[in-house]
């Protein structure tokens, strides 16, 4: 592959940032159009690789490699497979729609878009990197702009939230870094690879000692658990969601949280299958807490964004459930759920941002009957809500169905008396609780008698409809015809499952 398509996808946003850097501050319109154009380049190319990826061949494709620091085994190596390609597509969809969702911002536009685009490059970089050094580097590149974006353009306790989010994610990344370095040193030993490398593929060929696997997987679990976020490491996320400006909330809930799930699967499960088996019961227990607890807490929130924030906690629990079950269906479902949840939650935040921008409040109790004034926003919100509660015909249903079926078919007893199936059933019960809180929010916000107080609100129209239409279209497309997405994911999950099955049968921790 001579055409460096992945590098262009990744660098397009940062190029856009450079162009914006040279534009005058007051040319807001041109700045926004520039951001849109460059993110559109990423989007188009992502769709191109989504279509061009050869699913029957599977494996890592579109590889580019440039040696960088030879004696440390670092090289710039990128490529995508069935796990990362959906995430790349997700990121480009979310950033493209996120730019349009920020169309009505007027406060320090130039800096805002520069940081936003740099952040995006970081996220792309994490997903396409095949070298641990660059994986980590891009991760930090994604993290720092987030702090500034929330701290400067945020709302509701923004400094607190920005600091909390950055600290949590940094702590998490440090755990992961320790595991990465340990793996790097361990694999370089003569009895394994015999040479030092940070190449993710090469490191994946090593069969690590079981004791080491247990240790390293735990580090990865804690590290990426911060990102996912796994209970009780989750409190940064609702606060962060609430404080962040619309586009950042979209990226944050839509993509940044997925870094955790992606890292846990790509590095954790792939390198340490025995470690994953050993710690799976812990993940299973915690993820059920995520699902049920997150959903119940979402039920009593008073701020629209907090509801969505806690619903993310709840939904990411399903991803963890899929990882804990460690079989084809559940892992397919976990990756699909990351994609579906990313789209769905981006839609939620775009809509909430739209309402907030016009009404200057997000307090559910103050709303009511908004469907009279904003029928399109209401329709979009209802669709996002339906996706959230897993209605068939929308992408989330497919993902959740696969996770549930995968988790349900695990025949295992943990802690001596809790069967895994019972946990799966509790997880499935989450869809009932989700339905309850989603419908309550929809009811209190959009339905009911018309309130004169909100008669000045205008419905979404023109450019505001771009994110709504694109995201809903994606949800429906992959909900009605999920085969392209699921087949793609499955081509990435297959080698993973082969590795898990080949791994020694060891009991879980409990």
């Amino acid at each position: 592959m001579s055409f460096p398509i992945l590098s262009i996808i990744m660098l397009a946003p940062v190029l856009g940032a450079l162009v914006i850097l040279m534009l005058p501050e007051k040319e807001e319109k041109i700045i926004k159009i520039t951001a849109a154009v460059f993110s559109f380049i990423s989007l188009v190319l992502s769709i191109v690789i989504f279509i061009m990826y050869d699913k029957s061949a599977g494996g890592i494709q579109f590889v580019e490699q440039i040696p960088w620091v030879d004696y440390l085994g670092i090289s710039y190596k990128v490529g995508v497979d069935g796990l990362s390609l959906p995430m790349v597509l997700l990121t480009s969809l979310v950033i493209f729609t996120g730019v349009f969702a920020s169309w009505d911002m007027h406060n320090r536009i130039k800096e805002f878009f520069i940081f936003l685009l740099v952040l995006t490059t970081g996220v792309f970089g994490v997903f396409i990197s095949l070298d641990l050094f660059f994986f980590y580097l891009f991760f930090e590149v994604a993290l720092i702009p987030m702090y500034v974006l929330i701290g400067v353009w945020g709302s509701t306790r923004k400094e607190y939230a920005a600091m909390k989010l950055t600290l949590y994610l940094l702590i998490g990344s440090v755990f992961a870094l320790v595991a990465i370095i340990a793996t790097f040193l361990y694999a370089a030993a003569p009895e394994y690879l015999g040479f030092i490398t940070l190449d993710m593929v090469a490191l994946g060929t090593v069969t690590y000692d079981i004791a080491f696997q247990k240790f390293a997987f735990l580090l990865m679990l804690v590290g990426f658990g911060f990102l996912v976020p796994m209970w009780p490491l989750h409190t940064w996320s609702p606060d962060g969601h609430v404080a962040a400006p619309t586009a950042v909330s979209m990226l944050h809930a839509g993509v940044i949280m997925k870094l955790g799930g992606y890292g846990l699967i790509r590095l954790g499960v792939f390198y340490y299958p025995e470690g994953a088996k050993y710690w799976a019961p812990v993940i299973a227990l915690l993820c059920i807490v995520n699902v049920v607890y997150g959903a119940l807490v979402a039920m009593v929130q008073k701020d629209l964004k907090f509801v969505v924030g806690y619903s993310s906690v709840s939904h990411m629990g399903y991803v963890l459930l899929g990882i804990a079950a460690l079989n084809t269906l559940s892992l397919d479902g976990a990756v699909a759920q990351m994609f579906a949840h990313g789209i769905m939650t981006a839609l939620f935040f775009a809509l909430v941002g739209n309402i907030y921008h016009k009404s200057h409040t997000r307090e559910i109790a103050r709303f009511g009957g908004l469907a009279h004034q904003m029928p399109r926003v209401a329709a979009g919100f209802v669709i996002a809500g339906l996706a959230s509660l897993g209605l068939p015909g929308l992408n989330n249903f497919v993902a959740e169905f696969l996770i549930f079926l995968g988790a349900f078919s695990v025949d295992q007893v943990i802690l001596g008396f809790i069967s895994f199936r019972l946990l799966a059933i509790l997880g499935i019960l989450g869809i009932v609780i989700t339905a309850t809180y989603v419908l309550r929010v929809v009811q209190f916000t959009f339905f009911g008698p018309r309130k004169a107080e909100w008669d000045h609100l205008e419905d979404a129209k023109g450019i505001e409809m771009v994110p709504i239409v694109i995201l809903i279209g994606t949800l429906i497309l992959f909900g009605v015809y999920p085969a392209p997405l699921i087949d793609l994911i499955n081509s990435g999950v297959e080698p993973l499952v082969a590795k898990i099955q080949a791994a020694a049968e060891i009991g879980g921790i409990f």
Partner: protein, 621 residues
């Protein structure tokens, strides 16, 4: 036509898309699109029925074809079509009622600002319902099962400006969600046992596991789905409230078709229940109990639509009971006749409500003079519901009574006969109060427009005639087409017929005495049995119990979790950060700022380092 059965759900879906995006502003065109697509579906359904009869498609040899919808290792999900007589009957019922309701709505929804939205929802419902009927596997069934739930949600909340409407649609969705949770687990268990969702393949594999514990669990879990969708006790609470939707919707979705989907599901894969005896008993007794339970509530209600809703509950219970005692034929037969006469009753009620602008039967009265067509078609529907010869309900209800008695469920037989009495009583109470006697309306009632009365007349014809398709004296009738196992020709039992007719007539007589001639005072009875009356009036307080559970248990737990999230989980995080900060505050005093201190420390440290490094050289300690 069977070859193009896949068009059935697609046509209304197309209608939905066209109405939503193209004809939204052109109200009449929207309605015509909805009617046109539904009419096309009806034609296809009739064609399918014709081919089923012509080609001798039976329950054992259905026509099935499918494509792979999703395929990953270990799981193949099909999108398929399964046509057998059962599906053919259901298709005709759904398409006919849906088309008539569409036409009726032309007049009923006249001038409503959401005209196009209404018809787009109706089309969406049509698409989901037809997709459900032709499904050939559990996954597809569940897929459309939830989508009909969505359409129902949207239509109940059609008047989204009304608090009661949005309260009701939320309730409907959540009750159905609880049920679908069970349904989902049920067919997960089936998948776990047999590795497939396909009805045919499951039917092949099941007998080997007859009455095993796992199959019984699976069957009971699957049955929870119908309990919700067909509003059986204890998940029945949503249906009466669902009457907040426009009346034609109540007729179509909450009386004739969607709520019958539960009955259809149980019939669709009856082999599952036939191989799980305990589950079958559960079906029978849940159905029987619901029949009685709902009928008793209907006696005291005064909202015309709610009376009909409780009667729907009761009749659905009947159908379930018929299935539970092992007769798919009787259950589906009653489903068919019920669909017609109950749709008729609801549309008639809609016509009456349209005229007097109130749901309360006490605000009506004497309508027979002003609205003859509505009144007399309503009476026909009521006679059919009460099971009076030769109306449709007579044949199907008798068959249920007959199979229940023959299967040895004497208790259920007596219960069902008693319910027949209650049914006749409360329906004629309604008739005498609302349509006869003196007028109590504040408005001047007038007969409804043609688009509303024509569907009433057509349905009235069906309500009289539909029973004959299953009349026991016919040689080749309904029972020869729709059955489980082998066709069972019902032998007409004059005793059962006589008893049920007699008891229905006595119910009518009692209603006539109390509410028309007023020989017996309703007030006196009410005072005499005040406790019973209060309980019935409050629907056995089931709604209150659920409300209490939600408010006092779920919300309290939620608040507790919310508190713990803010205080315990976040508290721990803050604790860590605060202790680091406090530690720093203490440690900062090490930093004196005096250069000489620093130099001293550096020097001392250097000396210590040198000593430590020198230890090996000097031979160790």
């Amino acid at each position: 036509m069977i070859k193009i059965a896949w068009l059935l759900p697609l046509l209304p879906l197309l209608g939905f898309v066209v109405i939503s995006f193209v004809t939204k502003r052109l109200k009449l065109l929207s309605a015509l699109v909805a009617i046109g697509t539904m009419a096309a579906s009806l034609i296809i359904s009739l064609g399918i029925a014709y081919e089923v009869l012509r080609d001798g498609v039976t329950m054992e040899s259905p026509v099935e074809y499918a494509v792979n919808w999703l395929s990953v290792p270990g799981l193949t999900i099909e999108a398929g079509i399964l046509i057998d007589p059962l599906a053919a009957v259901m298709l005709i019922v759904v398409c006919t009622v849906a088309l008539l309701v569409d036409i009726y709505s032309l007049g009923y929804m006249e001038g409503d600002p959401g005209y196009s939205r209404y018809f787009s929802y109706l089309s969406l419902f049509g698409a989901s319902m037809l997709g459900l009927v032709v499904a050939n596997n559990y996954f597809q069934m569940f897929f459309f099962w939830e989508l009909v739930g969505l359409s129902s949600y949207l239509l109940i909340g059609y008047y989204f400006g009304r608090h009661s409407a949005v309260q009701a649609n939320k309730k409907a969705f959540i009750a159905n969600r609880v049920a679908d949770f069970g349904f989902l687990l049920g067919f997960f268990y089936l998948f776990l046992m047999f590795g497939t969702f396909n009805f045919g393949e499951l039917a092949q594999a099941m007998p080997a596991h007859a009455n095993s514990a796992m199959l019984t669990i699976a069957a009971i879990l699957v049955f929870i789905g119908p309990v919700g969708k067909s509003a059986q006790f204890p998940l029945h609470v949503w249906l009466p409230d669902a009457m907040e939707g426009p009346t034609p919707v109540s007729a179509l979705i909450h009386a004739a078709t969607m709520v019958a989907a539960g009955v259809y599901l149980v019939s669709r894969q009856f082999v599952l229940f036939a191989n799980a005896e305990i589950a079958l008993l559960v079906v029978a007794y849940v159905g029987g109990f619901t029949a009685l339970f709902a009928a008793t509530i209907a006696i005291v209600n005064s909202d015309i639509k709610r009376i009909l809703a409780f009667s729907t509950l009761s009749q659905l219970g009947y159908m379930m009971m018929a299935l539970g005692v092992g007769s798919v034929t009787a259950g589906m037969f009653h489903l068919t006749t019920h669909a017609f006469f109950k749709a008729l009753l609801f549309l008639g009620a809609g016509s009456a409500i349209h005229a007097v602008h109130s749901n309360s039967i006490w605000k009506m009265g004497g309508l027979y003079k002003k609205m003859p067509i509505t009144t007399w078609t309503f009476v026909i529907g009521t006679l059919a519901l009460a099971g009076i010869f030769p109306f449709a309900g007579f044949w199907s209800k008798d068959e249920i009574l007959l199979v229940t008695r023959d299967a040895g469920f004497t208790g259920l037989y007596i219960l069902a006969t008693f319910v027949a009495f209650l049914t006749a009583f409360y329906m004629f109470r309604l008739i005498f109060i609302a349509f006869f006697g003196e007028s109590r309306s504040e408005h001047e009632p007038h007969e409804s427009p043609l688009s509303m009365t024509v569907p009433l007349l057509i349905l009235a014809v069906f309500s009289i005639g539909a029973g004959f398709i299953g009349a026991p004296f016919l040689e080749k009738a309904f029972w020869a087409l729709v059955y489980y196992g082998k066709p069972h020709h019902p032998v007409p039992d004059l005793l059962v017929m006589a008893v049920s007719t007699g008891i229905a007539l006595s119910g009518i007589l009692l209603a006539w005495l109390i509410y028309h001639k007023k020989y017996i005072s309703a007030e006196k009875i009410k005072e005499r049995f005040l406790v019973v009356y209060t309980i019935l009036e409050n629907k056995y307080y089931i709604d209150e119990i659920y409300q209490w559970f939600f408010d006092k248990v779920v919300l309290v737990i939620s608040s507790a979790f919310n508190w713990s999230d803010r205080n315990l989980v976040d508290g721990a995080a803050h604790g860590i950060s605060d202790s680091i900060r406090a530690g720093g505050a203490k440690l900062r005093y090490i930093q004196t700022g005096s250069m000489q201190n620093y130099a001293l420390v550096i020097f001392a440290a250097t000396i210590l380092l040198v000593i430590w490094m020198a230890i090996p050289v000097l031979g160790g300690i």
